[in-house]
Subunit: 290 residues, 2 copies
């Protein structure tokens, strides 16, 4: 497979790394970049991530083999609407959003003529840094990418997206959008919410400096994801509201159980929870659970 022309909408960490990886794999001809910020696009040109700066017009989108939407998910409906008139029938479209039910809904609403060519995808490759300057060709090596194809999707469109991500070094999985959103609410979205909540809670204290002065390595790891991008995570929470609420409520019940055990000094119950958590966490880290 060869992609003569691809278009990356949003040339940040995700989109930029995708372009660099495909270039390195020798799979791609020209890469056009579209984005909100001219400075970012200029930087992407300078870094060799994109070959030219494009726009939502026929010149850029016409004849493209693949378009990747790599913006925060909240922007995608408007972008789909804007690009719809310029998309040709041979163009496969995909995205890099962290939620998939909302992407499916937006595709059905704003790209109804392209349902068979749109393959929603989620590359599992976050990083503390974002932006074109953080993009790198090996970001996806040994990472997972989840495709959530619609029933209407053409097999060759799925194959094109699958081949592109495999060429980036990723292993490709398939799930339904709703299962995807449930799993990621639990293992990604909820932990981010919990970590943001802890730091925010401490930030409100009088003498907060004294609290933070004694925060050590456990706190550092627990709160690393609280330095994540607020706009991106706002969009993810809103987009995956239903599954995230369900996970949050289950977690709140779990905390209430722990609070009750603490209140009555039930050391046995606490140790049982901690011991099972440790066993499962260690099995996961050793690759014995997945």
């Amino acid at each position: 497979m060869r992609l003569e022309k691809i278009v990356v909408v949003g040339v940040g960490l995700i989109g930029g790394s995708f372009a660099l990886a495909l270039k390195k794999a020798g799979l791609v001809g020209e890469v056009a970049g579209i984005g909100r910020s001219r400075a970012t696009l200029d930087e992407a040109m300078r870094l060799g991530i994109i070959d030219r700066i494009g726009a939502f017009d026929a010149a850029t989108l016409g004849g493209a083999d693949l378009v990747l939407l790599a913006t925060p998910v909240g922007q995608m409906p408007l972008l789909m609407q804007t690009m719809a008139p310029h998309l040709g029938p041979q163009t496969t479209i995909t995205d890099g959003g962290s939620t998939k039910g909302d992407v499916e809904a937006a595709v059905r609403q704003f790209l109804p003529a392209h349902l068979s060519r749109f393959v929603p995808a989620h590359p599992i490759a976050g990083a503390e840094n974002s932006g074109a300057g953080a993009a790198k060709a090996d970001l996806y090596v040994d990472r997972k990418v989840v495709l959530t194809p619609l029933p209407e999707c053409d097999a060759d469109a799925i194959e094109r997206v699958r081949t592109a991500w495999s060429a980036c070094g990723a292993t490709v999985h398939e799930m339904t959008p709703s299962r995807h959103d449930q799993v990621f609410a639990a293992v990604s979205h909820l932990p981010h919410l919990l970590s943001f909540a802890l730091v925010h809670d401490l930030a409100q204290r009088e003498n907060r400096e004294e609290f933070f002065r004694f925060a050590a390595s456990g706190f550092r790891d627990f709160t690393r994801i609280a330095a994540s991008h607020p706009e991106m995570w706002r969009d993810i929470c809103i987009a995956n509201k239903s599954a995230l609420l369900s996970e949050l409520e289950q977690y709140q019940r779990q905390l209430e159980e722990l609070r009750n055990a603490l209140l009555v000094g039930d050391a046995v119950a606490l140790e049982a929870v901690f011991a099972e958590a440790r066993t499962v966490r260690r099995a996961w880290a050793e690759g014995k659970l997945s």
Copy 2:
């Protein structure tokens, strides 16, 4: 200052590293080790952490310059009771427990004749690994140690403990026990509880393998402390129950606010919480808060 004879009760990561660091600093003569497990004590001998295996008797404790209790905090009351008859008046006693209000209470109950010589301390140096085999001479370099001396404490006992920890490379702070317990409930004990809770919650799911299969680097960092020692953390939670409950309840209120924001789709409120958390987390990581 020179310590001709010290006794380490519990020769694991904390006690073993203390002994190794003092030896490296040339501050100590003989180190005797006391512990539950003969195998651990033999290993500590083999590794040169201790010079002889002792017991709760006059031969071991009599004439000691310093005794360090480095066991889980739940064991300390019984250990204090057991050692009390054999402690001489010149011996300074300290501990390495993660909670301090309970240690003070135990000292008042079980070592009333030694109030002026007991200096409670908390070295802030956790690690994923535990046991004598994980001990190392540089564990405390650039770490913090918090002393929570009682009002009855002799200045020279405090000075002896302070000098010992400084010789290990640590910076020594002083706080009241109650302030210590409040601060560490917030920045250490609560995050551990939250991390254990998340992993335990996921471990109960049907098809939990599918959840864990897609857990990535954010999850890994958030849950690293869920692999901590269950018995140790059970003891810490029980020992610091009051402050931990207060922190947990405040956190539960914070989660309820986030849940309400999610329920009504209040993107502005969510982003405000996330943005403040990110700002403060970054300032902390850059050393601009502490």
